[in-house]
């Protein structure tokens, strides 16, 4: 094999590899990021326990309606349920499940400083079921208000729920 022919084969392989990469990107749109936008109104319960520095640690459980105003491949609305732990020292971690009208679910993990008005929460989409199988992504939202009522009841509204997802099936 001459050096010229070898160089030609290498160039051809490189071009083929680049073409394959581009074609692959075109035929697998589910790998594209799709953005979404919405709100979440939730109510539930919070339980608190005092800590040594006086700031109570607590668990919370919330559920309510998620309404999306944009977002290709996602339902227009979900039932959003979350459960979490706030250590009272500025760290909140939680898990969230969104369920749509077909019963298909989107799973995510939540993280923020604490559950309070004006606080920004970040979420990481870790997967799903049904048409959301394999879904990944991220989102943020801000608590517009969080109100504690009698007997540990808690209500809040999350605004600016924005994020992006990729993978999963496309909604019809």
């Amino acid at each position: 094999m001459t050096r010229t022919r070898l160089l030609g084969l290498v160039l051809l392989a490189l071009v083929a590899a680049m073409a394959a990469t581009r074609v692959s990107g075109q035929v697998a749109p589910s790998a594209d990021w799709r953005t979404f936008d919405g709100t979440w109104s939730a109510s539930g319960q919070r339980q608190a326990l005092p800590t040594v520095d006086g700031r109570p640690a607590g668990t919370f459980q919330l559920s309510g309606a998620i309404a999306l105003t944009s977002g290709v491949g996602l339902s227009r609305g979900f039932r959003g349920e979350a459960i979490g732990y706030d250590n009272g020292a500025g760290v909140m971690v939680g898990h969230c499940v969104w369920t749509d009208e077909r019963g298909d679910r989107v799973y995510s993990q939540l993280r923020s400083e604490t559950v309070a008005a004006g606080r920004l929460v970040t979420g990481t989409v870790t997967g799903g079921t049904g048409r959301y199988t394999g879904l990944t992504g991220e989102f943020t939202f801000e608590w517009q208000y969080v109100i504690e009522g009698e007997s540990g009841s808690i209500s809040g509204r999350a605004v600016g729920l924005r994020g992006r997802v990729r993978g999963g099936g496309r909604a019809q």
Partner: protein, 470 residues
């Protein structure tokens, strides 16, 4: 006649079942889960069955709770949670305390006293209820507890006028006074910032939208529409309900004579009066001292039992209280679960979100009307405010409606819509359980009174708010 009534009840029952099945087997709209949609089917069918006269509200409620648990929509612990709710227990205990006021004769004495002052007409009696309620309201953050104070007075007024539920000659008089008590509680709650628990909660939500509400600014904003509604509704309801007696020019003199005949307070009356005064004082200061309103009612009941004013025999006769406790706890729970499943928020978001493209005034009107109508699905004013107020305020502001008038109007509506259904507020229950009004009458009158209040607040209140609450 009886056969025809039975046939129409069967038809109404069949229609109710058809409503339940139709919704149940229809696929849920996009964004709602199947359990939420099916729970709505059960709730809607239960309310529908009461409105069309298929079942009493008690029967509809127990069938509904059985259906929700047996079909797996709710776990038993969820379905029965309302039976441990403090506000519902407060209603039960307030019922029993009110019975003591009637039993010892203090209610009748109070009735004669008010008739002697305001009793020249039935309308005057109604205004006297609004006056007393309006004056004590700012000290009572729990409108249910305030109902516990007003209800014995209304019973006393009705009995002083010869109106008992089993006396057909004066039943409409009693019904008018009872419904006046319900409407009065709803409007006095709108008049004062501190007269209903959800008012400060709403203010906190409004603050996040840049609207500041204080005790003073609330009163100024509420004063004109609420006082006008308080002046108009007793008169309009009198025309609509047409009690058997309207002009009673001799009643004040007769009441004074009856008071003289009653003589001084009996031992039982003194005990009940002292207990009641302490309860009222504790209820009024409950917020300041961190006291629980239900515990205060239990304390009062305990004192009345311990002193022998009420006996176990009296308690055993109060089957109506048990019925009210059961049906309200069931509907309260189902409505609450609908909210937790996202149904209320979904509906509010979808309705409010459909208004894009309209001008600020149509948006304002549509939002307020939709907000009021959605109370048909709620069994708690506070739950309604927490579920929908922020959504409607947010949508309205984004579509160009000024935030301050919209926030105030929605929160005033959160009070006056309480009477739209018998279960629309726990404060209604003492009056609806008095048996002066049938469930059908309560739904009809509730709709009329809500529409009248809505018109007053929109037509007269909106310009006033634009003037004073910028």
């Amino acid at each position: 006649m009886i056969a025809a009534a039975a046939r129409s009840a069967w038809i109404a029952g069949g229609l109710s079942l058809a409503v339940a099945l139709l919704i149940w087997f229809t696929p849920p709209p996009e964004g709602l889960t199947v359990p939420a949609w099916r729970l709505f089917a059960v709730f809607a069918a239960a309310i529908f069955s009461v409105i069309v006269g298929a079942f009493p509200i008690f029967t509809a409620s127990v069938l509904a709770v059985a259906a929700t648990v047996m079909t797996g929509l709710l776990k038993p612990a969820q379905a029965y949670a309302g039976f441990a709710n403090a506000t519902i227990l407060l209603i039960v205990v307030a019922f029993l305390v009110a019975r003591a006021v009637v039993k010892c004769g203090l209610g009748q004495r109070l009735g004669h006293l008010v008739v002697s002052l305001f009793g020249r007409s039935t309308l005057g009696l109604s205004y006297s209820i609004f006056l007393v309620d309006g004056l004590i309201a700012p000290a009572f953050p729990s409108n249910t507890a305030r109902g516990g104070v007003i209800y014995p007075l209304v019973v006393g007024l009705a009995e002083a006028g010869g109106a008992t539920p089993d006396n057909p000659a004066r039943r409409r008089l009693g019904a008018y006074l009872m419904f006046s008590g319900m409407v009065s509680l709803s409007l006095s709650s709108a008049l004062w910032f501190t007269a209903m628990a959800a008012n400060p909660l709403g203010a906190e939500i409004a603050r996040s939208a840049g609207v500041t509400m204080t005790f003073g600014s609330w009163f100024v904003a509420a004063s004109v529409p609420t006082l006008l509604a308080m002046a108009l509704l007793p008169y309009l309801l009198l025309k609509i309900m047409a009690p058997e007696v309207t002009a009673t020019p001799d009643a004040p003199a007769a009441a004074r004579k009856a008071l003289t005949a009653l003589g001084p307070l009996s031992g039982g009356e003194r005990t009940v009066a002292a207990t009641f005064v302490v309860m009222v004082a504790l209820w009024a200061s409950a917020g300041t001292f961190g006291l629980d309103s239900t515990a205060i009612a239990f304390l009062g009941l305990g004192v009345l039992m311990a002193t022998g004013v009420l006996t176990m025999g009296d308690i055993a006769k109060e089957g109506d209280v048990l019925a009210t406790f059961i049906w309200f706890a069931v509907l309260y729970t189902i409505s609450g679960q609908l909210n937790e499943m996202g149904f209320m928020g979904y509906l509010g978001q979808r309705l409010a979100g459909a208004l894009g493209g309209l001008g600020p005034l149509p948006v304002f009107l549509a939002l307020v009307v939709a907000y009021v109508l959605l109370h048909y699905l709620f069994v708690s004013q506070t739950a309604h405010v927490l579920a929908l107020f922020a959504v409607f305020l947010d949508v309205g502001v984004k579509l160009g409606v000024p935030a301050v008038p919209l926030a105030f109007t929605l929160l005033f509506a959160s009070n006056f819509f309480a009477v739209i259904t018998p279960q629309g507020s726990s404060a209604n229950l003492l009056f609806t359980g008095s048996w002066y009004l049938s469930q059908g009458e309560l739904y009809k009158l509730g709709a009329i009174a809500t529409v009248l209040s809505l018109v007053v607040y929109l037509v007269l209140g909106t310009p006033w708010l634009m003037l004073v609450a910028r």
